[in-house]
Symmetry: D2
Subunit: 437 residues, 4 copies
């Protein structure tokens, strides 16, 4: 039996009831800011509810610029009570008791966090706040002054999207269309062209797709992973995605290939789920198909081309000048269709990639490649390097056609993770290591 | 299709894997405290998960005293970084920018909050943390030094149990037994004696029961309200609960009577749901049965006897000495079975009750009666006072047999609420007012 | 908690266990027929189950001709025990007691019905039997000798698909894709071109789609109806299906338009659901949107062109020769795009249509138009005739662009139905009647 | 989204609309019989629906005698068309074609079956018809003339409750109370005393309960089996049901004990489910707990005392006179509490029981014991005989305290079944066989 949603019943209550006067269109901005002030200070729960709804529906009608201006305005309007903080600072200086530190912490909470908590009462509040942060994130480069506000969002979201609240769900051809269309939309690695393409990724007996959901956003996946069950570790994405391939029986599979992982909610940036997603899916697959032996990714190397470009400009990284010259051919258009070029390039490209993983670092001393950072950070091991493995436009332009397998071996994950996290060690297979000689 | 729970797969990972050595039984306390330290500082997500499980299962084996000692120990061990705060205080004193206040706030967050967020990853983490706070609350009178810790819990719970995350569900005879047994257990107003008694409150066509749930605790109601659909406003709880009464058709009902509201989770003290529960149930019932006209409670007056006792000790409150003498008979055992006493007492009791509601205040200047504070604070109006209305042991000992109706009239709720909240006004019906003359 | 399906556990039992020897490929037909014999006579329930699975999977591998040959073979092989019937005939002739008639009935049941009942135990048995009958129906014209077998199917299906077992379900954008693709596939009136077209018919707030399902075939709709909520009765299908139209709020709608009804399972021919579907959907919509006043179809007139062709060949039906000449223009290609022709044709076409409904009969004396037979038989009234209302290829070729509204008025349905069923009366509105003068 | 049930919308249609006049109370019987006639002959589906509802609600108000009288009246009133049958008999005699036999079969169908099919359209029709047959079954001994009518019911039910339509569901403490109370009510072997007793049978980790359901009767189990997961085969029901026993972890169990099987619907007599239930539960448990090795019952021997009584009256069955004298003590009250008697009786009782299973037959030459017939017919083997195993009142009075284990060994089931079904062989273990020497 469905019951009225928390919000159904305020639809016929109007704001005027609570002493708010509607204003002329041009004063809208002023209006919504003072509604936010009221929302934070009000006690009556119903009026709060009505005001939260009104704020969010006014927000929907604001232009992008008006929204950013409003956030900036709220950022200072809803800062904590400075006088009280300064008093407490005095207290702390006089007596550094735990209690005084607690008081200081509580007093210094930006009231903007309370605003967010109360806006969450509105219909689809959580999802609308996630969207709000998306816009904030987009505006950050131009408005660095909003970064504290962004931290308020992210602090709250980290609490609300605590992993203890997330649900892992399999996505199948029996999943509601309203969710499936989001999968099409959010796939960020190997684009899904249409419903038939989607069906090929979830309906065959040897395909799986899993996603994390938050109970308050049942139609919105947070992150998902696509899995192919195979008889061996694939070396080319084309083998996995070919519309013509024959499905195998899940019982015959020995290997689960994670060939695509997509974060769905830009507004949840910084709240990481992927780590756990893979590990939980590994366990789920083991439970269903105990004969599976190998859990491995087939991953792009999205920053490889950018690194090669730098190399080309003079950084050698243990590559000879001749090798660098060969590699430079991969910057030419359509090189991948010229067999002679490919033959020349292949061995060098593979060696260069091994070097890339072994020694290229970002400014924090972490691996240069973002996908490598993710999987190595999870405790996976770099297992294989495949050249000419992704000939799609994106595959060529970003990875020069290279793909790699990261191996998830349950017994080693924690050790690998620690070696990586604490000693910066990149764990690689013998096969990869031999390329470095 | 059910998938492996977030926690299934760590069951065979042992702590020793992450460098933790099992200790002898007697050092248990030390062990768990250092596990908590590790949990807060660790990066690896799987090790975190295993540690969280271990902490909570060790907790289950601690004695009550050991638990409180551990909390006290953690309270100081997981306080924020003082040096950093003191540095930031200097910064703030030098430059009172919004940004510096933000930094100060974030730096001063007790690390105990992070501990709670990470413990929440464990199996049934949320529920186990709610239970943990129950014990903390029980210990507070003897350990006032733990009150800041309690505020950490309550801050986090307020965020996790944000009303935007709660679900209203009808409880019926088709509800799982595992939930129904909780209803029996948690009913706090008119005890449910057994499954047959429960059935009488939910199965007849003219009975309803609604509860709020959190998605992470699907078997645990947070608060519930019992409703009788009637043809008139009842004056006696016996009429509502009689096993012999004949059910009416819901379509004949004109009145919905909220005759029992119970909070279920002591560990969520201070996070209020009741307010909204009633209002949402009103809307839900209107939707289902548009002919309902009156929404009213049949409520105990739980602090009335205590107030009468004080009166008897000399405070007059507008009552004559003769009246006070009459009232004093209600403190005698079994007075309610003596018709002569009842006849003498009835009119005086009713008058005294009216006075009680009109003028008896607690130390904060709010109504003396806790149930009155709740409903008047919700915007309800005190509608009727009934004597000899609850002759149960509890009804006599706490309310001297009195019950009252609070009326929820949608159009007046907000105004009543404001009159009460801002001006302390107790809104009463003409009938009650006439008793005051 | 999902449990093993009735069929999961026989997957590893082989037929050889029950004394069946696998045969060479060319003897397959013989094999399956004797399996059917065995299935009907066996007692052991597990062997039955295994045999039923085997029969149906062999069936899947037969060619169309082999299947029909098998059915013909079974038809005589599984006929009842003639000797026993003849004995009972003697008994009946001697003593015409109720009991003897009962015995005769039971003895004369074709054993083929028992075969069907036991095949139903197999995985998806019901659905596979429905598919089997589809092929039988297709073969009937060439194999009239199989019509008794078809009656066996239809007798059993009438019992299994008893309306008491069917479920009405709303189909929305939240329905599983596996069901939605069936809607696309089965739409028989106004084809759904792709997923976007489907979405336009179910996602907007003013659109509804309802289907009947059988519990054993949860992914297979039996019949469905598409509904548009509108502010007035539409005269053109283009207005309903236009991708550019603006949705209205359901609360503003006064009219529910049933603009497409499709039977999905050819194998259930003769087991009618449509009748009840419309009436139940009317009630469902009234419950959800009490303000709806008018329930009306927008229907094709699929046999009109065929009738006009006959007219053109000399039957006058009250139309003048001049009128018939005008009408003959609608048999020319692309006439609908020639404004002069349209202007001349419109009034005559409308008059001719009115006549068509009033007097054209099929060989059973029922209305010539199959859709008219359906709705008038349901108790609806012919309300309006619209020319140039469906300019799609199908609309022109079958209905000469005409569409009509049938009105479902709850108060009149039974009377209309009886007037039609018992007196053959075609109930029409005043507007239509005036066209007949 | 719930939609209106098939029946909701006729609630405000009255029979008078269809030309039926309400009659005076005393003519009720006449009225309902003619309603039944009308229901069978009517075409209009809505009127059918209304009439079906009216018939069933009048039925509810009839006395038991009136109901039986009505059934008898309908039995002849709704017999098939004799004239048509006699004509077809002539046709058959002239031409014994398959087609003519088909015609004869269809013509001879009692119209009472059509009545049942149409009554099934009413609200909860299926369940109400099952209840109707219960009363018919109860009346059969006194009214043997109704046995053909009973066969009509049973023919239809066999079709509707075809195993392909049934669902196996686990019953747990999370099952709705409305279903659980049926389990308490229907348990027929070891009575469940109250909700706490029920909970002990379903909540511990080493207990399971499975039931078959029909989709149209979701609150009514058809048959259920109670299972204990144990570390060894139990010899006493007290060990299984003791409230004090400690639960074991399911992973430690090696044995699944089916200790109680109850049919729930007397109205479905003759439509057997138990056979398949056990086999499906075996497979389900193997899937969940692959380490389980032994599937065994702990069963009563309900006809043993009756057989012993016959023995006592002179039939020897290979028992010596002395042994029979010893056994006769078990007919005395409270013998089971007299240690001396028990010591003397035990070995003889065990031997006698072995003999009972080996040679006691019912009038059809099947095993005398009804429970033995069930399990041996399923292909189980008689594994152990336990004396002093069920000391409950029922256990003593019917089984003289004896219980037995029947072993379900997947590999042998079919062979055992055939040995039993075709050669009447009672398959026993070596242990039992040694008792026969």
């Amino acid at each position: 039996m469905r019951v009225a949603a928390l919000s159904d019943f305020v639809s016929n209550l109007s704001l005027s009831r609570f002493g708010f006067q509607p204003r002329a269109r041009e004063e809208k901005k002023h209006d919504i800011a003072s509604l936010c002030q009221a929302l934070v200070s009000r006690q009556g729960e119903i009026s709060c509810f009505v005001i939260a709804e009104e704020i969010l529906s006014q927000w929907d009608r604001l232009s992008g610029e008006e929204r950013i201006a409003l956030l900036a305005q709220l950022s200072s309007a809803l800062s904590p009570d400075r006088r009280r903080i300064l008093d407490l600072i005095k207290k702390v200086e006089a007596d550094q008791s735990d209690h005084n530190f607690h008081l200081l912490h509580r007093a210094s909470e930006p009231r903007f966090q309370e605003l967010l908590r109360r806006l969450n009462h509105a219909r689809n509040g959580t999802q609308r706040l996630v969207r709000m942060r998306e816009e904030l994130i987009d505006a950050l480069p131009a408005h660095p002054e909003l970064s504290d506000l962004d931290k308020d969002f992210s602090h709250l979201f980290a609490s609300w999207f605590n992993r203890g609240f997330l649900e892992l769900k399999p996505i199948t051809w029996r999943t509601p269309a309203s969710v499936l269309e989001k999968i099409i939309q959010y796939e960020a690695v190997h684009a899904i062209s249409d419903w038939d393409d989607l069906r090929r990724r979830i309906e065959p007996a040897d395909r799986r797709l899993f996603a994390f959901f938050h109970p308050q956003m049942p139609d919105e996946p947070l992150i998902f992973v696509e899995v192919a069950l195979t008889a061996s570790t694939p070396a080319r994405i084309g083998d996995v995605l070919s519309p013509k391939r024959a499905a195998i029986s899940p019982e015959e599979a020995t290997t689960a290939v994670f060939y695509s992982i997509s974060n769905c909610q830009r507004g949840l940036k910084g709240i990481s789920f992927g780590n756990f997603l893979i590990k939980q899916v590994v366990e789920e697959l083991k439970r269903e198909l105990p004969q599976l032996k190998t859990f491995v990714t087939l991953s792009p190397v999205p920053d490889f081309a950018r690194w090669l470009d730098k190399i080309g400009k003079g950084e050698s990284e243990g590559l000879t000048e001749a090798q660098i010259a060969v590699l430079s051919q991969t910057a030419m258009p359509a090189w991948q269709h010229d067999n002679a070029v490919v033959a020349a390039v292949e061995p060098v490209l593979k060696k260069a990639a091994a070097r890339y993983f072994a020694s290229a670092k970002d400014r924090n001393g972490k691996p240069f490649d973002s996908v490598a950072r993710f999987h190595l950070g999870n405790g996976a091991r770099l297992e294989n390097i495949h050249v000419m493995a992704d000939l799609s436009e994106k595959g060529i332009s970003r990875s020069r056609g290279i793909m790699v397998n990261y191996l998830y071996k349950t017994d080693d994950i924690e050790k690998n993770h620690e070696d990586y996290a604490e000693r910066g060690k990149v764990v690689v297979s013998d096969a990869v290591r031999s390329l470095l000689r």
